[in-house]
Symmetry: C2
Subunit: 451 residues, 2 copies
């Protein structure tokens, strides 16, 4: 059966969707458009490319366009910017950036994997020393600035995942790092317990954290660099500014096609990853999906979700019939010697979604406390006090936070309760795990306070 | 209500049972007998006490008898050896080792937590340089021998958990270590894939591994030490021998009371941890419990199970009514820079229990493969090919094996399938976890081969 599948966006969800479509229907003609020159690279690894831990650009690239095309039987067109979708004609208009011309392409099925973009902080405007980090191109520009300008002081605006990873990255290059944030604590997507843990870790690693309410002005260098930021809380001097105040779905393209979007701005897709227009699918950071705990749309701009949803969109676009059976928030961040992970609902989300949410926090040992060098693990469990059902968790420590969050993800998938957690059998050996895992210790504490 | 609860055995299950009984019924009179002078110490940490990583005996001890007694409101009698149970009279006979006399104690409820003992290798007999490691006393004797005799070469008979941990311990003290084992691979309780991983790790750490079939003779020193072991495979010279060929339930006491025992020799208990005689409970290494996957009795001589079953026995002996809701094998061992973990059924156990078992193995990355220093993780999933239900798993690598096994334990608890695993949301960040966890990668491979 003739089936031309066009995939727009080549970073994570796009290649996943295209590959899966090719495996599902080897007869399909699959074209992947990407506006930059790169596809399929490790975007989450950019902080470690900037600090040279990952030495070469080539190390980041999982597939070159040529390799991807040859191995997967997919036509790859980089430096092609898709400008418009015309659903009535099942057609897209594509700007070939190399040849400088506009081409029309018909599709049978279209998959939008246009990803996300940095939220812009308009107060800062365009200055040579002001950067965002959302692409390999961004990273290359930051590296170039570092190489030529040798900045000594850096200010990061925001304190989310990338902000904290970049605080480590810049610090490891010997720079003084200041974080300016509008919240009392870093890591807004986590519980305050985790935010305090993160703040403590930053402080131990000599990263200054300043909470501000308003930016009151700037001072500029002769080169038009912002060399001073004046806020209500402090004046901060720096050679380089990284703005990292969040990301949002990149959906400019879908506006022309009038695709339905949600409260976070992402394309609303059904369980098959189809948008509000048939034969148009979406996956990854550009869409919103249903949270299995609340059954409401939410935004999950993570590489893991991009892969999962990309595979589903690709399979369905190629004639398959598969659905997203479950999705809950699950994310982690590592910075310096700290690791923080979250799964499921936050306490506030649980409350606002009608759960009788309660939370319990403990600080436990990652190894037996009598074992020299044993580290601490903080566990916050969020549960419904009516039945003890686990709704979410925050876990932080030196290591082992993400894998423990994955244990809780597995528990949430099956609606396990605090009591169920205590029935579980966990493996124990002094060098790897404690006799009673902090996760179980937290469940026990929650159960006691819930009785 | 009058309730005298007597607990026999003070290592792990005993203190857990006694504490829980005291919390359940603060009016109960609780007496804990222990034949040695120590209670409540970290037996799993003994290898790290022997190599001085844990420097002092006192570091191992979680509760001294005095502290335990004072904090928990429990009468603790160390150096008391219980000699006989007379169920008809609800009475025990106790040898006070300090005063050298035999006393009678009546009980309302009795909890047996007599633990396990080393399986004896009779060929070796009693020699000054032949050791077992099953108690703090054993460890102290090994340390004394090391201090006074400065052994250069060590032979370990067996290749289970303690054998491998002690291979690391002795190596770290600068000794040459040889393992003599009757199996082709170490770690018999694991899949051959894990055994090969362990063998490779031993070899990289200069531990010689010799598989033998028969011991053909010994040579002795003037001090009656066994200085040479002659086997069909090789002749091995050493200054110190550690025999570590397994453990078995310590049930001599129960024989007099005619308590029912199982195929592994442990007391058979019901879900309330009651033995075949009412008012007599058992917990920990001395009993057999039901495996939730097979619903058959099995032997789980681990500290985690000791705690879990001890709490249940203690609560019920004190008038509560709680049951062991779930129990599956779950264990891990760390040696050198290797970590191996198992949960659920082995492939062979799954087959012999009537499952249409299949297994799939992968070697995946513990971090993104483009991240410098990313380690490998081996995952073997055992599942039923009829429905893809997960039955067990072996996981090994440099780290993260035990926590991943705990994820699978959580999945097994609710009878999740390979497909379910692929629906899970796991957290990802380059420094802690890969974009697609090896556990999911293995599930995907299993699902493909199962179609």
């Amino acid at each position: 059966m003739k089936n031309r599948i066009i995939v727009i966006g080549g970073l994570a969800a796009g290649p996943a969707a295209a590959s899966k479509a090719a495996r599902t229907n080897p007869q399909a003609e699959i074209i992947l458009f990407e506006q930059s020159e790169y596809i399929s690279y490790g975007i989450c690894e950019l902080p470690y490319f900037i600090n040279n831990k990952i030495p070469f650009k080539e190390n980041l690239i999982l597939y070159s366009p040529e390799k991807f095309s040859a191995e997967k039987n997919i036509i790859v067109k980089t430096n092609h910017s898709v400008r418009e979708i015309i659903p009535q004609k099942k057609m897209i208009l594509v700007h070939d950036l190399e040849k400088g011309r506009l081409d029309e392409y018909n599709y049978d099925n279209l998959i939008l994997t246009t990803g996300s973009k940095s939220v812009t902080h308009y107060a800062f405007g365009n200055h040579p020393n002001v950067f965002y980090l959302k692409s390999l191109q961004d990273a290359l520009e930051i590296k170039k600035f570092i190489d030529y300008q040798t900045p000594k002081k850096v200010t990061i605006i925001g304190a989310g995942f990338i902000a904290l990873e970049m605080a480590e990255s810049f610090s490891s290059l010997g720079m003084d790092v200041t974080i300016l944030n509008i919240e009392d604590l870093p890591l807004k997507g986590f519980e305050p317990e985790t935010g305090k843990f993160a703040l403590n870790s930053l402080s131990q690693n000599k990263v200054r954290y300043i909470k501000y309410n308003s930016i009151d002005g700037f001072e500029y260098s002769d080169q038009n660099n912002i060399i001073k930021i004046k806020t209500d809380a402090a004046e901060v001097e720096q050679d380089l500014i990284l703005i990292s105040i969040g990301i949002e779905p990149n959906i400019d393209l879908g506006k022309s096609a009038k695709l339905k979007t949600g409260v976070r701005g992402g394309y609303l897709v059904d369980q098959r990853m189809m948008t509000s227009i048939s034969n148009i699918y979406a996956a990854g950071d550009c869409c919103e999906i249903k949270n299995s705990i609340t059954n409401k749309y939410y935004y999950s701009p993570f590489a893991t979700t991009a892969l999962k949803t990309g595979w589903i969109a690709g399979e369905n676009a190629a004639g398959g019939n598969t659905i997203l059976r479950s999705s809950i928030p699950a994310y982690t961040v590592s910075f310096f010697d700290a690791e923080a992970a979250h799964t499921g609902l936050s306490f506030n989300d649980a409350i606002s979604n009608g759960f009788l949410a309660e939370k319990t926090s403990i600080e436990g040992w990652a190894q037996p406390k009598i074992y020299p060098g044993a580290g601490k693990i903080n566990v916050t469990l969020i549960y419904d006090k009516r039945d003890g059902r686990i709704l979410g968790a925050d876990i932080s420590g030196k290591s082992g936070a993400a894998l423990r969050a994955n244990i809780i993800s597995t528990a949430i998938y099956q609606k396990l309760t605090l009591k169920d957690l205590l029935n579980l059998d966990f493996a124990y050996a002094p060098q790897s795990t404690p006799q009673r895992d902090p996760v179980l210790y937290a469940a026990g504490k929650g159960l006691k306070s819930n009785n």
